[in-house]
C-alpha cells in the first residue's frame, strides 16, 4: 500500500500540495484527478522519488521513499512501472529494443528468453507486429501502448499512468481504457492514474481523489463522487463551464470596464 501523509510541496512561492494525506490501496485502480496545473504529475514524481517533498512522507510497503539511498530507491523503482504522457520511448531504439532495454539492463537473461518476454509484452498491448518500427513511426496511441508494454517489462507490482488518455482518438482511447483495466486485473497490479478525463477514468477507477488548489477537494468511488454535494466536485465531474471555478478570469465589472473611456 502507498501511504501519503501530510504532504507539502512548493515550487517557488506557489504551494502545489498543502498538507494532503491519501492512501493508494493495493491491487486497485486509484485515480488522481483535478484540473490542469493541480499538481497531478508532480504527485507521481513525488511517489516515484524524482522530487522531494518540503514536509510529510510517502511510504510504499512501509518504506519512506525519500529516506532511501539511491541504490535502495533504484531497487524499489524496479517494482514500479510508469507510463509518461509523451510515452518517453527512447527515440534511437526500435519498439522491440525499447521494451528489451530494462530487461537487458536489470537481468542476465539470454537474448532468446528476452525475445520471448518482449513478444509476450507486445502481444498483450496488441503491437507484436510493430516490433521493428521506430518510435517516430508510431501514432500517439501506439506509442503509449508500447510505453505500457515497457512499463510492465519487469513485471512490476505497481504502475503509474500520467495522463494516459490525453489527445487520443476514440478508438485509441477505448483500447487504452480496456488495456489499463485488463493489465490491472491480470497482473494484480496497483494502478495509479493521473488524469483529467472524467468519463474514461471514472469508468475504470475503484477510487478517485480530486485535487484542487493544493488540497483534496473530494474523494470516493466514482459513484460517490458523481453524487457528491460539493459544488466544486460537481463542476469538475460534470464539466460545468461556471461554478466555484468561475468562467471569467477575475477582473473589474464588465460595465465599469466598458465605461472606462
Amino acid at each position: 500500500m502507498i501511504s501519503i501523509r501530510n504532504l507539502t510541496f512548493s515550487r517557488g512561492e506557489q504551494k502545489i500540495f498543502d498538507d494532503i494525506s491519501l492512501d493508494i490501496m493495493p491491487h486497485k485502480i486509484t485515480a488522481i484527478m483535478g484540473p490542469s496545473g493541480a499538481g497531478k504529475t508532480t504527485l507521481l514524481k513525488l511517489i516515484g522519488g524524482q522530487l522531494n517533498p518540503d514536509s510529510g512522507s510517502i511510504t510504499i510497503d512501509g518504506e519512506n521513499i525519500h529516506q532511501l539511498s539511491r541504490t535502495q530507491l533504484y531497487t524499489l523503482r524496479k517494482k514500479m512501472g510508469m507510463l509518461f504522457q509523451s510515452g518517453a520511448l527512447l527515440s534511437d531504439m526500435s519498439v522491440f529494443d525499447n521494451i528489451a532495454f530494462p530487461i537487458r539492463e536489470h537481468t542476465q537473461l539470454p537474448e532468446t528468453l528476452i525475445r520471448t518476454i518482449v513478444l509476450l509484452k507486445l502481444n498483450a498491448v496488441g503491437l507484436r507486429g510493430a516490433r521493428n518500427l521506430m518510435p517516430s513511426e508510431l501514432s500517439g496511441g501506439m506509442a503509449r501502448r508500447v510505453a505500457m508494454a515497457r512499463a510492465i517489462a519487469l513485471d512490476p507490482e505497481m504502475i503509474m499512468y500520467d495522463e494516459p488518455f490525453t489527445g487520443q482518438d476514440p478508438i485509441s482511447l477505448g483500447v487504452l481504457v480496456s488495456l489499463i483495466q485488463a493489465l490491472n486485473k491480470t497482473l494484480h497490479l496497483t494502478s495509479i492514474i493521473v488524469s483529467h478525463d472524467v468519463q474514461e477514468t471514472a469508468s475504470i477507477a475503484d477510487y478517485i481523489y480530486v485535487l484542487s488548489q493544493g488540497k483534496i477537494a473530494g474523494q470516493g468511488t466514482p459513484k460517490e463522487l458523481a453524487e457528491s454535494d460539493s459544488e466544486w466536485v460537481q463542476q469538475f465531474m460534470h464539466g460545468k463551464a461556471d461554478g466555484p471555478v468561475p468562467f471569467h478570469y477575475p477582473s473589474d465589472s464588465f460595465s465599469s470596464d466598458l465605461l472606462a473611456h
Binding site: 514524481k45 516515484g48 524524482q50 533504484y74 518517453a88 527512447l90 539492463e105
Partner: protein, 267 residues
C-alpha cells in the same frame, strides 16, 4: 537622493541575484561532472556505448575537420610565403606552418569546430531527451541516465577531440605543402626538413595534445551540462544550444591563453 538609493539597491540586488544564480549553476555543473567521473567504471564495462558515441561525435566530425584543416593550412601557406619572402626566408615556411598548427590552430580551431558540430548536437540531443521525458523515463526504470546516456558521450568527446586535433594539424601541414611547395614553389626539402628539425615532440606536439585534451574536457562538459540543465521547452533547448557554442568558444580561448602562458610563457 531617495531615487539614487532605490536605484543602487535595485542594482546591488540584481548583482547579488546574478551571482547567486551563477554560483548555483556552477555547483550543479560540478556535481554533474563528479557523477560523470564516478560513472567511468560503468562505461568501461560497456565499451559498445562508448564506441557508438565516438562514431557520433568523432567520426561524423571527420570530414569537417579534414577539410577545415586543409584550408587553414593552405591559407597559412599562402600568407606565410608572402610574409617570409619579404625577408627571403621562404625556406622556413614548414616551421611556420607546423608550429602554428601544432601549437595553436590545430587544438583551438578543431575545438571550436567540435563545439559547433558535436557540442551543439549533444546539447540539443540531451535537451530534447529531457523535454520528451526520456531521461525521467530511464530514472523510473531504475537506469541512471548519467551512466547510460551522459558518461559515454562525455568520454567519447574527451577521446575524440585530441585525435581530431591531430588530424586537423596533419591536414593543415599538407595544405601548407600544397600552396607553399606545389603552388608557390618553396623548396620541398626545406619545407619538410626544417619542420622535422625544429618541431619538438614534447614541447610542441605533446603540449598541443594536452591543450586539446583540456578543450575536449571543457567542451564536452559544457555541452552535456547545458543539455541536462536546459529548461524542458523548445525555447529552453534552443537557448541551451546557443549557450553551449558561445560558452565553449569563450572557455576554449580563455584556456588557450592560460595554457599558452604556462607552456610557452617562459620560453
Amino acid at each position: 537622493m531617495n531615487y539614487l538609493q532605490t536605484y543602487l539597491q535595485a542594482y546591488l540586488q540584481k548583482i547579488g541575484h546574478v551571482t547567486l544564480k551563477s554560483l548555483a549553476k556552477l555547483g550543479r555543473a560540478s556535481l554533474f561532472f563528479y557523477s560523470i567521473i564516478t560513472a567511468l567504471p560503468y562505461v568501461l564495462m560497456r565499451p559498445q556505448l562508448l564506441i557508438k558515441q565516438m562514431f557520433s561525435v568523432g567520426v561524423l566530425s571527420f570530414w569537417l575537420i579534414i577539410i577545415s584543416g586543409l584550408f587553414v593550412g593552405m591559407v597559412i601557406g599562402l600568407q606565410g610565403v608572402y610574409t617570409l619572402s619579404t625577408y627571403g626566408a621562404e625556406a622556413s615556411l614548414g616551421i611556420m606552418v607546423a608550429a602554428s598548427l601544432v601549437r595553436e590552430l590545430g587544438p583551438v580551431v578543431s575545438a571550436l569546430l567540435f563545439a559547433g558540430r558535436a557540442g551543439s548536437a549533444l546539447t540539443a540531443e540531451i535537451g530534447l531527451m529531457k523535454t520528451t521525458e526520456q531521461l525521467s523515463g530511464m530514472e523510473m526504470m531504475a537506469i541512471d541516465p548519467i551512466k547510460y546516456i551522459i558518461a559515454p558521450r562525455f568520454f567519447a568527446g574527451f577521446l575524440s577531440l585530441p585525435i581530431l586535433a591531430l588530424l586537423f594539424s596533419s591536414c593543415g601541414i599538407l595544405g601548407g605543402h600544397l600552396t607553399g611547395v606545389e603552388l608557390l614553389q618553396v623548396d620541398l626539402g626545406s619545407y619538410w626538413t626544417q619542420m622535422q628539425q625544429t618541431i619538438d615532440f614534447y614541447d610542441d606536439i605533446v603540449n598541443g595534445i594536452i591543450k586539446s585534451i583540456i578543450f575536449a574536457w571543457v567542451v564536452s562538459w559544457i555541452a552535456l551540462f547545458e543539455g541536462y540543465d536546459a529548461l524542458p521547452t523548445s525555447a529552453g533547448v534552443s537557448r541551451a544550444t546557443t549557450r553551449t557554442v558561445v560558452n565553449s568558444a569563450f572557455a576554449i580561448l580563455f584556456f588557450d591563453f592560460l595554457l599558452t602562458a604556462i607552456m610557452f610563457g617562459s620560453a
